[in-house]
């Protein structure tokens, strides 16, 4: 009995299949990317098309500090997860707390910018096309940051209560993929809104 053109491939052990959490999170990230893409397309399409009202260059100020904070939080969350894998809970707690703080600073910065734009410059979501697309895109991103921060805060609380150990490092690493995604989206949003659109 010849074996023709095919030879037995070694039976894959379960261990070589990717982890469910990682694949699930990456699929979720793909889904979210599709949503953000549509908002970005709408923003780009409507650049310069507002019939009236404040223009981007009138009211936008580049959020340098907030951006730096948010992007640094990607680094801190990465360090946090790494130290957790090595079971250094105190180190983990420190980096995790820093992530929480940096993310919160970003959100507060966005909030303050919005307050200025609404009350001082008179730009709301219903003012013109720029207002609609700006608040929707930046708001969608801020919503995702908020959801992330809530999860980070919950984990922070559990850490303080002593319930977090190195066996959760895999799960938190999967969560950190979400947080990195949120940061990458900010890079895109920042480019589209503050660089291209101004």
């Amino acid at each position: 009995m010849s074996s023709a053109t095919f030879t037995d491939s070694p039976i894959e052990s379960r261990g070589t299949l990717p982890s469910r959490g990682r694949v699930g999170m990456l699929s979720l990230i793909a889904a979210e990317s599709a949503i953000f893409t549509i908002f970005v397309v709408a923003y780009l399409f409507y650049i310069g098309k507002s019939l009236s009202g404040p223009t981007p260059s009138d009211v936008l100020t580049i959020p340098v500090f907030g951006t730096l904070c948010l992007l640094s939080s990607s680094l801190t969350i990465h360090l946090a997860v790494r130290t957790l894998r090595n079971a250094k809970i105190l180190s983990f707690g420190f980096w995790w707390f820093l992530t929480l703080m940096l993310g919160t600073i970003f959100l507060i910065g966005t909030g303050r910018e919005w307050h200025r734009m609404i009350f001082d410059e008179g730009l709301t979501v219903s003012t013109n096309l720029f207002g609609t697309t700006y608040y929707s895109l930046v708001g969608l991103h801020a919503f995702h940051v908020t959801v992330g921060l809530i999860v980070i805060a919950i984990v922070m609380t559990l850490t303080v209560l002593g319930k977090v150990g190195s066996k959760y490092s895999e799960r938190l690493e999967v969560f950190s993929l979400y947080w990195h995604f949120v940061d990458v989206v900010w890079v895109v949003v920042f480019t589209v809104v503050y660089v291209i659109g101004r």
């Binding site: 039976i11 299949l17 469910r20 699929s27 793909a30 599709a34 019939l51 609609t132 929707s136």
Partner: protein, 557 residues
């Protein structure tokens, strides 16, 4: 005694109350139960959507009919389309995927059982919210406040100025909610197929059913999310005074169309690819040969997935895009026909040289082949942009897509119902009733949808609640309606068969069709844990290898 705490006492099982059993189903995270719930849910909405279609067909039986008012008719076609797409075909496909994918890949459940349950309930709730619109809200016209803007909800008709009631809101919110459920299930399917295959089952040894559902799941993510985004934008317009689609403020109605069809076209592939999956499992078994060209089938499906993301504006040939854009979408539309045709040829190649058994599932698959061929060819006609300028927005398009969805997808679904019914219920269905269902439905289907092409060619637009006499549309519409009734009777026969056979059908055993994939290796219905031992496979047809140890598949591919 120790054994008391472990052994299940049959008497206890038999006396569990109805509320206990109901509770079981409500809180279950078992993929098989959730699969059945999805399927039953879809069947109920199939009947409801069919009633909506029947109401429309009665109204259109003769010109200037007054069976229903225009407001009611417009709600009927909106609800019919929305229901059939979101609350019949998507749930039923998710139901079959849920039930069968873990079994076929030798797993005990889906990757995320709780997400599975959550996604089902989101979808279910979305449907209930949509139908609550008939009774709730502050309706201005007849039939409560059900959506009446068409299932594609073009702007600016959906703006507050032109849809002042809540019909657009019900549409948007119901679909947003069920959309999250769909994305959840899609993520689950992807993770399950990639991460939970049994030992030995490489991706190239997976049943095509698993492959095609994997592609479908990716497409759900890439298709539904743009719709979600567009619906959020519509909410911003309607509730927060935004201007995304507000043409008075410089917004673009065409932008909504782009976003909607970026969803809408891949969506129809989401609907049809699981139908292809059914065919790819059923035709080989009843031809007694393996699927012809497995790698090509996988490649063609992946190709369809990619190319179908680039054809969306063939729904927009008449909106005034420039000639380059129209040409681009024409060629991509033609191009997506190539891998689709390849699949038809491969199914033909599977039957070729086989020993075909005309059991009921195979009858439906053969019907699919003829009808999907025609549907694809009318699709090519519609992809010819200038021809589309005549045909779009007419009954020709309605005939085309019903040919795909009813003549194609629904036939494949019926085939799947009959094929896996023994596995899910443990009983055989009534063969005579099945054949009656098939022939009645073929007659009704062709009477309705063959003839329906003609009024379109004679200038009858779609989405009209009445029409002028003397344009050559009268008799045709009448006959089309008769066909609808015949199909209705066929569906009743089908539902009766499903129910009767549950009680009276012969015991099916593990493997009534002498098939080759893993779901047939376990009992009918499978136990909660699916397999006593996780199987180890060495080829694409593990049961063929077991039944033919002298000539196993792994020697050849």
């Amino acid at each position: 005694m120790a054994s008391d705490s472990i052994a299940i006492n049959p008497a206890d099982v038999a006396t569990r109350s109805v509320s206990e059993r109901l509770h079981d189903w409500v809180v279950t995270v078992d993929h098989k139960k959730l699969g059945i719930m999805y399927i039953v849910y879809a069947l109920i909405f199939l009947v409801i959507g069919g009633i909506e279609a029947t109401v429309m067909r009665i109204q259109l039986m003769r010109p200037h009919n007054d069976f229903v008012s225009p407001q009611v008719f417009n709600r009927m076609f909106t609800m019919h389309g929305t229901t059939m797409i979101f609350f019949v075909v998507i749930p039923v496909m998710f139901g079959f995927a849920n039930y069968l994918v873990p079994l076929m890949i030798g797993a005990r459940d889906m990757a995320f059982p709780r997400l599975n349950a959550f996604s089902f309930w989101l979808t279910a709730f979305g449907g209930l919210l949509l139908y609550f619109s008939f009774v709730g809200g502050s309706g201005l016209y007849g039939a409560g406040n059900a959506p009446d803007m068409g299932w594609w909800a073009y702007a600016p008709l959906t703006a507050r100025a032109f849809s002042p009631g809540h019909s657009a809101d019900y549409w948007t919110l119901a679909l947003l909610v069920s959309g999250f459920g769909s994305v959840g299930t899609a993520i689950n399917i992807i993770a399950t197929v990639i991460c939970m295959r049994c030992p030995g089952m490489t991706l190239s040894r997976m049943p095509l059913f698993a492959w095609l559902n994997l592609v479908m799941a990716f497409m759900v993510i890439l298709a539904i999310c743009p719709l979600t985004a567009a619906q959020v934008m519509l909410c911003v317009d309607r509730y927060l005074g935004g201007h995304f689609f507000d043409t008075q403020a410089g917004g673009s109605a065409v932008l909504w169309m782009h976003f909607f069809w970026i969803f809408g076209h891949p969506e129809v592939y989401v609907l049809v690819i699981p139908a292809f999956a059914f065919l790819s499992e059923i035709i080989p078994v009843f031809s007694r040969k393996p699927i012809f060209g497995y790698p090509v089938m996988v490649a063609a499906t992946v190709c369809i997935g990619f190319v179908s993301l680039s054809v969306w504006a063939h729904h927009m040939f008449t909106v005034g895009m420039n000639s380059y854009a129209n040409s681009f979408f024409a060629i991509t539309t033609f191009a997506v026909g190539v891998p689709t045709g390849i699949k038809i040829f491969n199914w033909l190649g599977t039957m070729w040289g086989g020993r075909i058994q005309f059991k009921v599932p195979m009858l439906f698959c053969i019907g699919f082949l003829f009808q999907f061929l025609i549907a694809g060819l009318t699709g090519i006609m519609l992809g010819t942009a200038p021809f589309n300028w005549q045909l779009s927005g007419s009954y020709f398009v309605v005939a085309h897509f019903h040919y795909v969805i009813v003549g194609g997808i629904l036939f494949a679904l019926f085939g799947a119902f009959y094929y896996w019914y023994p596995k899910i219920t443990g009983r055989m269905f009534n063969e005579t009733l099945g054949k009656l269902h098939f022939w009645l439905f073929v007659i009704g289907f062709h009477l309705t949808f063959d003839l329906m092409h003609i009024p379109g060619l004679l200038g009858m637009p779609r989405r009209i609640y009445t029409y002028e006499p003397g344009r050559g549309w009268d008799t045709l519409n009448f006959l089309v309606t008769i066909g609808a009734f015949v199909q209705g009777v066929a569906i009743l026969v089908f539902v009766a068969n499903l129910i009767i056979s549950c009680f009276q059908g012969a015991q099916a055993g593990n493997d009534p069709w002498d098939a080759w994939t893993l779901e047939w290796s376990t009992s009918s219905p499978p136990p909660a844990y699916n397999f006593a031992q996780i199987p180890v496979v060495e080829s694409r047809r593990p049961l063929w290898d077991i039944k033919h140890p002298e000539d196993p598949d792994w020697k050849y591919e």
